[in-house]
C-alpha cells in the first residue's frame, strides 16, 4: 500500500485535540514528481503540520487539530503526480458527545397490540451514531433484585419508543425498566421504573349513545339528557370508573365534569343543563379501584335538551 493514514483516535469528544499522520512508503517515491505529502481536509481546516523523511526512506506527515469542533472531517493524504493530485488514503474523523441519560421514560400497557409500550426523551444530539435499548427484568421484591430476564427491546432506527410483547411480560408482577443509550464515547442509563404492566394499562375510550325516546317512558325533564355508554369491549373483564364532560355546543362555556360514574349501567340521566340547548358530551374511563391510566376522551355525542 502506497500511503496510509493513522489517527490518534477515530472518534473523539468535540473540542478535543486530534493527531493524524500519513506515511508514504518507498515504493511510491519513484513515481511522483514532487516528493511531498499534501493533506486535503473536508471541511477545510488548517492544522499544524510536521513533515519528515524517515531513515528507511518513507515520508511521514503529521497534522494536529488542537480543538476539533466539526462532527465530521474527511482527511485525504495526497501526492503530486504530473499535474494531478493523487489521493493515496482517506480517513474520517468523527467528534461528538457521549450520550446523556435518557429521561421522561414512561410506559403504557396497550391491550390492543397486547404489548407494553415505553417511550423516552433521547436527550440532545450527540453527533455520533447512538443506539438506545429498552432493558427490563422481572422482579418479585419491588425491583430490588432480578428474578427473570427479559430480552432487550431494540427500537427501530431513530425511534424513541419500544414495545415489549405480551409473551415476555407477567402482567401482574413488578418489572424494572430503563433505557440505555450507547455510542463510541460512552454509555448512560435512564432512571429505572418499577411497575406491573397492568397497573399502567390504558383503555380505549368508551362509546356514548343517546337513549331513543321509547313509548311508555316519560321524556326527560327540561334541561336533562338521557344517555347510555358502553366501555371498550376487550376491557369488559377490568373493573373501571368513568367520567363524563359536557359543554354547550355554542358559546364560550368550558367543560363541566361528572366524575366517578360506574362503567356499566343501563342508562343515565344528566340534569341541571340549560333547556333546549345543544350539548357536546365526551366520556373517558380508567381501571379502578386498581391503578391504570385514563383512556382518551371518547368521540363527541351531540344532544339537545328538551324545551321548558
Amino acid at each position: 500500500q502506497c500511503g496510509h493514514i493513522l489517527l490518534s483516535a477515530p472518534i473523539v469528544h468535540l473540542g478535543d485535540q486530534v493527531m493524524a499522520s500519513c506515511i508514504i512508503n518507498q515504493n511510491c517515491s519513484h513515481l511522483v514528481t514532487e516528493w511531498q505529502i499534501v493533506w486535503k481536509l473536508e471541511p477545510e481546516l488548517h492544522p499544524r503540520e510536521r513533515q519528515q523523511h524517515l531513515p528507511n526512506g518513507t515520508l511521514q506527515s503529521t497534522i494536529t487539530l488542537p480543538h476539533l469542533n466539526h462532527s465530521r472531517v474527511l482527511l485525504s493524504c495526497c501526492l503530486h503526480w504530473g499535474n494531478s493530485l493523487q489521493i493515496l488514503d482517506q480517513a474520517e474523523l468523527q467528534a461528538g458527545y457521549p450520550p446523556i441519560a435518557p429521561h421522561n421514560l414512561s410506559c403504557i400497557m396497550n391491550l390492543t397490540i397486547n404489548s407494553l409500550v415505553c417511550q423516552w426523551e433521547p436527550g440532545p444530539d450527540t453527533h455520533l451514531s447512538t443506539s438506545f435499548t429498552l432493558k427490563s427484568f422481572k422482579s418479585q421484591d419491588q425491583c430490588q433484585t432480578q428474578k427473570d430476564s427479559i430480552p432487550d427491546c431494540v427500537p427501530e432506527d431513530g425511534q424513541s419508543h419500544c414495545s415489549i410483547p405480551r409473551k415476555h411480560l407477567q402482567l401482574y408482577q413488578d418489572m424494572s425498566i430503563w433505557v440505555q443509550a450507547r455510542n463510541a464515547l460512552g454509555t448512560s442509563i435512564s432512571p429505572k421504573l418499577c411497575l406491573a404492566p397492568m397497573d399502567v394499562v390504558k383503555l380505549e375510550p368508551p362509546t356514548l349513545w343517546a337513549l331513543e325516546p321509547s313509548p311508555g317512558v316519560a321524556p326527560p325533564q327540561p334541561g336533562c339528557l338521557r344517555l347510555r355508554w358502553e366501555t371498550w369491549k376487550p376491557s369488559l373483564y377490568i373493573e373501571q370508573k368513568c367520567e363524563l364532560r359536557h359543554q354547550p355546543r355554542l358559546g364560550e362555556a368550558g367543560w363541566d365534569l361528572v366524575s366517578t360514574l360506574p362503567a356499566r349501567i343501563p342508562e343515565y340521566e344528566l340534569c341541571g343543563l340549560l333547556p333546549s340547548t345543544a350539548y357536546t358530551l365526551q366520556m373517558r374511563c380508567t381501571r379502578w379501584p386498581l391503578p391504570g391510566h385514563w383512556s382518551e376522551w371518547s368521540p363527541s355525542l351531540e344532544l339537545i335538551t328538551t324545551q321548558r
Binding site: 407477567q170 402482567l171 408482577q173 373483564y237 386498581l290
Partner: protein, 174 residues
C-alpha cells in the same frame, strides 16, 4: 394450620385475582366459541365418554367451598389447579393454526395467575417447600382428540374458575 381470618389476604391481591379470573374466563370462552365454530364441537356433554378414555383430570377445589373454607389449602388447590391446566393446555399444542393464538393467550394468563397465587402464598409463608411438578398428561393422538380435548379442558377450566371466582369474591367482601 389453616390461615387466620380471610382479612390476611391483601385487598389489592384479591382484586387482581378477580380481574385475572374474569380475563381467563373470557379467554376460555373464546377458545370454546372457536372450537364450536370451526369444528362443530360445541357441547362438552357429547365428549364425556371420550374424556374418560383420554383421562382428562379435574382439578379439585374442595378446600375453597364456602361451607368449609380452609384458606391455605384453598390457595394451594387454586395454584395446583392452575398449574394442571397449564399442563393440559400445553398438551393441546398443535391444536390448529387458527386456535394457536387463543391457546397461547390462555396459557400466558393462567401462568400469570398461578404465579401471583404462589407469590402471595410465599408472602404469607404458607407456600409448599417445592413447586408442584406436572403429572402425566393425556396424550392426544389425533387432531380430533386435540380439539375434543380442547373442549373438555376449556369446560372443566370454566367450572374451576367459577368456583375460584366465588371464593375470591367472598374473600374480597369488605
Amino acid at each position: 394450620t389453616p390461615l387466620g381470618p380471610a382479612r390476611s389476604l391483601p385487598q389489592g391481591f384479591l382484586l387482581k385475582c378477580l380481574e385475572q379470573v374474569r380475563k381467563i374466563q373470557a379467554d376460555g370462552a373464546e377458545l370454546q366459541e372457536r372450537l364450536c365454530a370451526a369444528h362443530k364441537l360445541c357441547h362438552p356433554e357429547e365428549l364425556v365418554l371420550l374424556g374418560h378414555s383420554l383421562g382428562i383430570p379435574q382439578a379439585p377445589l374442595s378446600s375453597c367451598s364456602s361451607q368449609s373454607l380452609q384458606l391455605t389449602s384453598c390457595l394451594d388447590q387454586l395454584h395446583s389447579g392452575l398449574f394442571l391446566y397449564e399442563g393440559l393446555l400445553q398438551a393441546l399444542a398443535g391444536i390448529s393454526p387458527e386456535l394457536a393464538p387463543t391457546l397461547d393467550t390462555l396459557q400466558l394468563d393462567i401462568t400469570d395467575f398461578a404465579t401471583n397465587i404462589w407469590l402471595q402464598m410465599e408472602d404469607l409463608g404458607v407456600a409448599p417447600a417445592v413447586q408442584p411438578t406436572q403429572g402425566t398428561m393425556p396424550t392426544f393422538t389425533s387432531a380430533f382428540q386435540r380439539r375434543a380435548g380442547g373442549v373438555l379442558v376449556a369446560s372443566k377450566l370454566q367450572s374451576f374458575l367459577e368456583l375460584a371466582y366465588r371464593v375470591l369474591r367472598y374473600l374480597a367482601e369488605p
